[in-house]
């Protein structure tokens, strides 16, 4: 009984060590950067504003098809939160922000200037078919709950500016704050918020689940999306290549198909 017991115990330990080795090997391969001659390669981490979700998923797939050695890891959040994560040292190679102001702290250190690559204005979003008949910003004052992005997130900042600029005052206890543009959209499409203010491209991406109401140009805001390379970026080859690809005719066509305008 004794020897057999000891043996099986050792076997367990060996199996555990083996698993650990496998796990660490897995980590190692995913973060290795294999510069293969002139061909760019490796993994780039692209952190993007949540409103870019659908467009960037397509663009990343297309980019990977052009550069089979490169893997693009995408992460989406509100630009303000990404900026805070970068400030805390998050290992991000490229930051696509919905607000130029948010890239300022990193752009001074960046090897190349930030590039503007897309624009979108904002819209009122309502439930599918606009059951409450919302026509203008002032109608928002009479609905029960309006979903807005967090005040620091670009879409929240723009929405607050738009409301202030058009003289519509919503009381705080009728505003629910979601952390990003996509979460704000979700509060209207899936949740019980009556209306919200998000990017026009978000309304388009929601398809039949939401109906948009145009905000007049005089009161609207055009968000300019910029991309910047983070200075401590691991992948010095692929990151500029992805940045350049965003200005290519192909990427511009993709962005336009998702409702963005391009410079």
């Amino acid at each position: 009984m004794g020897p057999a017991r000891v043996f099986s115990r050792w076997r367990c330990a060996a199996a555990a060590v083996g698993l650990l080795a496998l796990a660490s090997a897995g980590c190692a391969t995913s973060s290795s950067t294999s510069g293969n001659g002139s061909q760019v390669g490796g993994v780039i981490v692209v952190a993007a504003a949540s409103s870019l979700t659908e467009a960037f998923q397509t663009i990343a797939t297309d980019f990977e098809a052009l550069h089979p050695q490169v893997t693009v890891d995408l992460t989406f959040d509100s630009s303000s939160r990404i900026a805070a994560q970068i400030d805390e040292g998050a290992p991000i190679d490229l930051f696509a922000s919905a607000d130029e102001a948010l890239v300022e702290p990193v752009v001074d250190l960046s090897p190349r200037p930030a590039t503007a690559f897309a624009m979108s204005d904002l819209q009122i979003v309502t439930k599918s078919g606009n059951p409450l008949g919302i026509r203008s910003l002032s109608d928002l004052a009479s609905v029960d709950v309006v979903a807005l992005c967090a005040p620091k997130a670009p879409c929240g900042k723009y929405a607050d500016e738009i409301l202030a600029g058009s003289g519509v005052a919503l009381s705080a206890d009728h505003i629910t704050r979601a952390d990003s543009a996509k979460a704000t959209l979700g509060a209207v499409t899936y949740g019980d918020a009556d209306a919200g203010i998000v990017y026009s491209t978000d309304v388009l991406a929601a398809g039949d689940n939401a109906t948009g109401v145009v905000i007049p140009k005089a009161h609207n805001h055009t968000a300019i999306y910029v991309i910047v390379q983070i200075v401590n970026t691991k992948n010095k080859m692929a990151a500029p290549s992805f940045m350049a690809y965003l200005s290519s005719p192909e990427a511009k066509a993709t962005l336009r198909s998702f409702g963005f305008s391009t410079p």
Binding site: R81, D173, G191
Partner: protein, 270 residues
């Protein structure tokens, strides 16, 4: 003969290094984040940060909703625990699993589920809205509902275990001696499960107080209405980090307080 106990004592004191090293790592891993939080606190401004209108509204709402949720969890959880412990019926294992589901379910999924049931277009929410104009979303009642959903299992799990562990012969003896069912419950059953119940209540309350995912998904994030302390921490982290950290500190302090009061009572039977 006096040597033997001495030897055993010495043996018990020797801690195997193979266990000690990972155990120390575990302690460090659990403690370092709290230290990290503490060193971010601006102690001089703490009082000011906690008395800002936003922080005060969040703390007040959190306390109110979590206490209501705890009361509801006890009112509904204890009878359910009794049913699971004392009544044999078909599908009892399934009912028990369902009662514990919120414990392991991702809270955001719980929020989506609550929305599908009690939202304005939900299974129950839609008829309630049509008939009485009652809604739960974006209301403090919705927060209480979300918190009760996640807190209930703690009451059920602790009370059921206590009911199973207690000596039922005491109850039988009391009945034989002529005590009414209510007297048995009050004089025998309740005192026997009281320590476990208090543990369950404390855990349920701590869980309700910390609820985030189900709340933000189901009840929204409206200042003063549904923005509880955890939601305020998340929202304020990029705009007013100092207030967010101060609120986090309050919640850490409350949780440590709860655990100190319990002294591991819900795990170790006394």
């Amino acid at each position: 003969m006096r040597l033997q106990p001495l030897q055993r004592k010495r043996g018990a004191r020797r801690v195997p290094v193979l266990l000690l090293i990972p155990a120390v790592f575990a302690i460090v891993f659990l403690v370092v984040p709290i230290i990290g939080l503490l060193q971010k606190v601006v102690w001089g401004d703490l009082f000011h940060d906690l008395t800002t209108p936003q922080a005060r509204a969040a703390i007040a709402l959190s306390l109110r909703c979590s206490l209501w949720a705890t009361v509801l969890a006890v009112l509904f959880g204890v009878p359910l625990a009794w049913l699971l412990a004392r009544v044999e019926f078909r599908g009892r294992a399934v009912v028990r699993a369902l009662a514990l589901l919120p414990l392991v379910l991702p809270p955001v999924v719980g929020g989506v589920a609550l929305l599908s049931a009690f939202g304005r277009r939900g299974l129950i929410g839609e008829p309630l809205d049509a008939a009485f104009g009652i809604h739960f979303t974006f209301t403090a009642t919705g927060v209480v509902l979300a918190e009760t959903f996640v807190a209930l299992p703690f009451v059920v799990i602790t009370v059921e275990a206590a009911l199973r562990a207690m000596d039922r012969r005491l109850e039988d003896a009391a009945s034989t001696l002529g005590a009414s069912r209510f007297t048995v419950l009050r004089r025998i059953t309740f005192p026997a499960i009281a320590p476990a119940l208090s543990g369950g209540v404390a855990l349920a309350w701590a869980r309700a107080l910390g609820e985030f995912g189900a709340t933000i998904t189901f009840a929204g994030n409206i200042e003063g209405r549904t923005r509880t302390a955890p939601l305020a921490v998340y929202l304020l982290l990029d705009s007013q980090p100092q207030t967010a950290i101060a609120l986090s500190l309050v919640m850490v302090a409350i949780c440590i307080g709860v655990l100190t009061l319990l002294r591991g009572r819900w795990l170790v039977r006394q």
